[in-house]
Symmetry: C2
C-alpha cells in the first residue's frame, strides 16, 4: 500500500534533518517492499510567512487532510517573533485556534485537525551520556502523555486598563471533562500496553481548584476501568523532584498541556539531550492525520552547516511508522538508531565528531544490514 506523507521541513535545521528522514524512509521502502511513501512537501515556514504573509495557504488544510501522517521538521526564524509561528502554524496544526487580534495573520477555518494527544517517549539512548549520576546508558523508560488541545494553551484571557500602571491581565486555562476523559483513556491504554502497567498523573490540584480538581476526579473514575494499571498522583512541583532523585520509579505519565510541556522538556534533558527526543501530536480517532516531529527547535545558529543532529527526527520517523501500523519497520529503525549511537557515531551537540550526513549514512548502513 501507499502512505501519503505530508512533509513540512519548516525553517533552519528543520530543512536539513527532514531531508535525511526522507532518505531513511526511502531506504525502508526498498527494504520492506510491501509499502511505499507518497511524499508531499509543503513549504509552510517563516520564509513563506515573510514573503507571502502566511504560514498556511488557503488550500493548505484540504491538502494536509489527504495525508496519512505529517512529518514535521522545526519552525522558527530570528526574523519572526516566536509567538507568530506558534499561533499561526504549530498550534493551528494541533487544534482549533480562535482569531484574537493581530497576532493571527493566517485566515483560519474551523477546527482543522484534532491532535489532542502529545506523546513523548524518553529513554537514555545507548552511548549517550546523561546528566544524572544515578542513571546509566539505556536507563530511564518514560512515556509522557500530554494533553494537547486545551488547558493553559487555550489562548483565552485578556487585559484590562492596558498601558496604564493598573493593567490587569488574565490567563484563562480551559479544561473540559470531554477533553480530560479522552486523554485519560489514551494514557491508561498506553500504560496497559507497557510491561510495568504504571500510570502517574500530575496536576497542581491543591493550589488550582477547578480544572486540576476535575483532572483528579476523572483520573480516579477512569482508573476503575483499568484495575490492572497501578496508579499514582503527583503534584507538579514534587514531580520534578521525583524525576531527578527517583527517576526509575516512573513509567507512563499523564498531565496537562503546560505541565506536560515543562516536564517532558525536563525529561529530555535528564535523558541527555533535547536533540534526540521525539514528539507525536496524535489524533487517536484517526479522522485526521497525526504529526511527528523532534522536540528541538529550528536552531538558526547552526542551520545550513550540516552539523545538526538528525536522531530526534529519526526517532519521530520511527514513531510515525508505528502509528501507521508498520511495527516491523519502526522496530528496525529504532534498532538502527541505537546501534549507531552505541557505536559512538554522533554529532557535536552529543559530544561526538560526526556530521549530519555521517550519522544518517550510518543509520542507513545499519538498516541495510538487516
Amino acid at each position: 500500500r501507499t502512505y501519503k506523507i505530508a512533509s513540512i521541513p519548516g525553517d533552519g535545521i528543520g530543512i536539513e534533518i527532514t531531508e535525511q528522514a526522507i532518505k531513511v524512509l526511502r531506504t525502508i521502502e526498498v527494504l520492506f517492499n510491501s509499502f511505499t511513501f507518497d511524499i508531499d512537501t509543503l513549504d509552510w515556514s517563516s520564509k513563506r510567512y515573510l514573503e507571502q504573509g502566511e504560514y498556511i495557504p488557503a488550500d493548505g488544510w484540504q491538502r494536509l487532510r489527504k495525508s496519512d501522517a505529517i512529518l514535521f521538521g522545526a519552525v522558527g526564524s530570528p526574523a519572526v517573533p516566536d509567538d507568530i509561528s506558534l499561533w499561526n502554524l504549530i498550534l493551528p496544526l494541533r487544534k482549533k485556534v480562535i482569531h484574537s487580534g493581530l497576532l493571527y495573520q493566517t485566515p483560519l477555518t474551523a477546527n482543522q485537525l484534532t491532535q489532542y494527544i502529545n506523546l513523548r517517549p524518553i529513554r537514555i539512548l545507548p552511548g549517550l551520556s546523561a546528566p544524572l549520576k544515578n542513571c546509566a546508558d539505556g536507563d530511564l523508560d518514560w512515556i509522557f502523555v500530554r494533553e494537547n488541545s486545551e488547558g493553559e494553551y487555550s489562548g483565552q484571557g485578556g487585559t484590562t486598563h492596558d498601558d496604564t500602571p493598573n493593567t490587569i491581565a488574565n490567563e484563562v486555562a480551559v479544561f473540559t471533562s470531554v477533553g480530560i476523559e479522552r486523554t485519560m483513556r489514551f494514557a491508561f491504554e498506553v500504560a496497559r500496553g507497557r510491561p510495568r502497567k504504571k500510570l502517574t498523573m500530575v496536576t497542581k490540584s491543591n493550589a488550582q481548584r477547578y480544572g486540576m480538581v476535575l483532572w483528579d476526579k476523572i483520573f480516579y473514575e477512569i482508573a476503575k476501568e483499568y484495575p490492572d494499571v497501578e496508579t499514582d498522583k503527583m503534584l507538579v512541583d514534587a514531580m520534578t523532584v521525583r524525576m531527578v532523585l527517583k527517576p526509575k520509579t516512573l513509567d507512563t505519565i499523564v498531565t496537562t498541556n503546560l505541565h506536560g510541556d515543562i516536564l517532558s522538556d525536563l525529561a529530555a534533558a535528564l535523558a541527555g539531550s533535547i536533540g534526540v527526543a521525539a514528539s507525536s501530536s496524535l489524533d487517536p480517532t484517526r479522522q485526521n492525520p497525526s504529526l511527528f516531529e523532534p522536540i528541538h527547535g529550528s536552531a538558526p545558529d547552526i542551520a545550513g552547516q550540516g552539523i545538526a543532529n538528525p536522531i530526534g527526527t529519526f526517532w519521530s520517523t520511527a514513531e510515525m511508522l508505528r502509528w501507521l501500523g508498520e511495527d516491523a519497520a519502526a522496530d528496525l529503525l529504532m534498532t538502527a538508531i541505537q546501534t549507531v549511537t552505541a557505536s559512538g557515531i554522533k554529532t557535536r551537540d552529543l559530544g561526538g565528531t560526526n556530521d549530519l550526513i555521517e550519522v544518517t549514512e550510518a543509520v542507513i548502513v545499519e538498516l541495510e544490514k538487516s
Copy 2:
C-alpha cells in the same frame, strides 16, 4: 533590642525541627548579647483544625502582626486533605484569600499579610552529594525570586455543568502590573546585590498571551533602570533544560507563582535534597511580618522519631536573621551549618547516620566555637 518571633511549628516533623531552631536562636542570643528573642508559639496546625475547626483563631491575625518575623515549621496531616491546610493556613499567611465555598473554614478578615515575594536560595552545601554529574559540592549558587501573591494561585475560576459529562472548568491566573512591577524591582535589587549581577526571567509568553506578555513587558521596562544588571529571558520549558545541562550559567531567577513553585523544587532536587532548602515569604514594605520556613513538608511518615533533617529550618533561621538585619548572626549560622555538613554529620535522608539532635548539637558546638 528584642525581636518578637511568632513560631508556628505546625504538624509532623515541623514540631521537632522548630524546637531545634529555637535552641539555635537561644544559643545565638547568648553569643551576641546585643539582642534577644521573645518567642510566641502558636498552635496553628491540622491538630487544632481537627479539634477546633480552624487553623487560625479569630484573634490570630492581631497576635501575628505584632511579631517581627514568623518562623514556620511545616503543615499537613494525613487526616486533613492537603488543600484544606493550604487554603486555610499557608495561602492566607502569604496573602489575602477570598472565601469561596466550603473549602475555607476559617473566618478570614481582609488582607492579612502581604508576603508578595517568595525567596529561595539554592546551593549545594559542602558534603552533600548532588545528583548532577556536572556539579560538585559547593557548586550552584542560584536564588529564585518567586511572585507569591497572584498569578496561577489566585484561587479564581469556576466550573459549569458540574457533575455532567460536559463539565467545563476554568482556572484563571490573574496578573497585575502592580504585582509584577514590585516583584521585578525586588528581583533586580537582589541581582544587583550579588557578584554576578545577572537576572533571568522565566515565563511562557509565546503560548500564554496575556499575563505572561505583561511580565515580559514590565521586565524590559524595569531593566532600563538597572543597566548594571545583565538580563535574559527564558521560556519555562527551556529553562528546565538549562538548569540540568548548563546549571552554572544561572544566578538570580525571577518568575511567576506557579513556575517559581516548579522551578525552585527542581532546583532544590538538583542541589541534592529538598530537606535542606529554605523558603522566605517576604513583605518588602515591612508593614507586616515576613515568614521563614523550610521547603519540605510535615513528613508524617517519619514524624516523632527524632530522625528529621533540621538543616532546612536552620537555613531558614539564618535567612530570618538576615531579614531582621542581624547579618553577623546570619553569617555565623550559615558557616556553622556548612561546617557541619562538610564534616559528614548528616541525617539519613542525606545518606548519613545521625539523628535530629546530633545534627542540632553539632551546629550549636560550631556556633559556640566562634
